[in-house]
């Protein structure tokens, strides 16, 4: 057996061990920082709320991933397919069923087109104070060149509102 083949084998094993060690060593820090960041973000999305309690979602809406109940509403993590992959968002909805804030948390959309949904405040602002009636081309102007992404975000926002208002018949928020 050629002894030189040991070089990539050993390198691969050492690299794997380094990554396992790094991942395990930082997992506690990562979890606490992620929790703190999520809480701060939810407080910004749903102003006036301090504490958030995760509720189990048992409804049928496949877009809804997690539900956090707060003093004056809900923050809902929603996800749906965009143009290039799944878009994950947090949407704050007050108890009257109006959107108080939203933020895209994860996406793989095209840079310069759908990717603008991350930072295009003019676009995102259109959803504020909507109550489930948001529709691209009707009361929401799509991001230029990113109609699929805009429609995906609209679906996310409307799913979140439907959970709170009870339009999603399977939701438990109004029961």
């Amino acid at each position: 057996m050629n002894k030189k083949i040991l070089l990539p084998v050993l390198t691969l094993l050492i690299c794997a061990l380094v990554l396992v060690g790094l991942n395990a060593g930082l997992s506690g820090v990562a979890a606490s920082k992620a929790e703190a960041e999520l809480t701060a973000k939810m407080q910004a999305i749903l102003p006036g709320s301090e504490t958030f309690t995760e509720e189990t979602y048992t409804g049928d809406d496949a877009n809804i991933r997690r539900v956090f109940a707060a003093e004056n509403g809900y923050v809902i993590e929603v996800a749906t397919n965009g143009y290039a992959g799944e878009i994950t968002m947090l949407v704050g909805v007050d108890k009257d069923g109006k959107v108080t804030g939203l933020q895209v948390r994860d996406m793989e959309e095209t840079f310069g087109l759908g990717g603008e949904a991350l930072t295009d405040h003019e676009f995102l602002r259109q959803y504020l104070q909507t109550s489930g009636e948001a529709e691209v081309g009707v009361n929401v102007d799509a991001i230029t060149g990113a109609t699929v992404t805009s429609k995906a975000i609209t679906r996310c926002v409307n799913s979140a509102v439907a959970y709170v208002t009870g339009a999603d018949a399977s939701s438990g928020a109004t029961s």
Binding site: L7, P8, A16, L19, E108
Partner: protein, 145 residues
């Protein structure tokens, strides 16, 4: 077989590890950051960085076209799993796609550099060629995915 036949796979493992380690650190200390996914264009990018480094360190090295797919499958399967960016259920997909991508990119890059005129400009030409391959794969991924 000439020396340094296994350097390419060693470099690939090191560069994949560096990329994943940076992602672990960003995920830990900047949890709101959107991390790049390990898709075909990003696999091609890491592969080309390894290939360029291999070209600069051992320009005359032979390729072992049995070892290249075997080790790249192990690299793209094992390291994302170790870093927590893949589950056991999807690591094998990354492994197979990564192995195929790296083998193809290696063949394309090696074919190009073997035909390249040697001289003071050859290193820059290799970098430009690698950039061309990366852009081509981005277009290719955009078409089929």
């Amino acid at each position: 077989m000439k020396k340094n036949s296994y350097l390419l796979n060693t470099l690939l493992a090191v560069f994949v590890m560096i990329a994943l380690a940076v992602m672990v650190l960003v995920r830990t200390f900047q949890p709101a950051a959107i991390l790049p996914v390990l898709n075909i264009p990003n696999m091609v990018l890491i592969s080309l960085v390894a290939l360029l480094m291999d070209y600069f360190l051992a320009p005359e090295a032979d390729r072992c076209y049995i070892c290249i797919p075997v080790f790249s499958v192990l690299t793209f399967g094992l390291l994302p799993l170790a870093a927590g960016f893949a589950t056991v259920a999807n690591a094998w997909i990354l492994a197979l796609v990564g192995g195929a991508v790296f083998t193809l990119v290696t063949w394309l890059f090696s074919s190009m550099t073997q035909r390249m005129a040697t001289g003071r400009t050859s290193k820059l030409a290799a970098v430009a060629g690698a950039l061309g391959i990366w852009l081509a794969f981005q277009c290719f991924s955009g078409i089929i995915l």
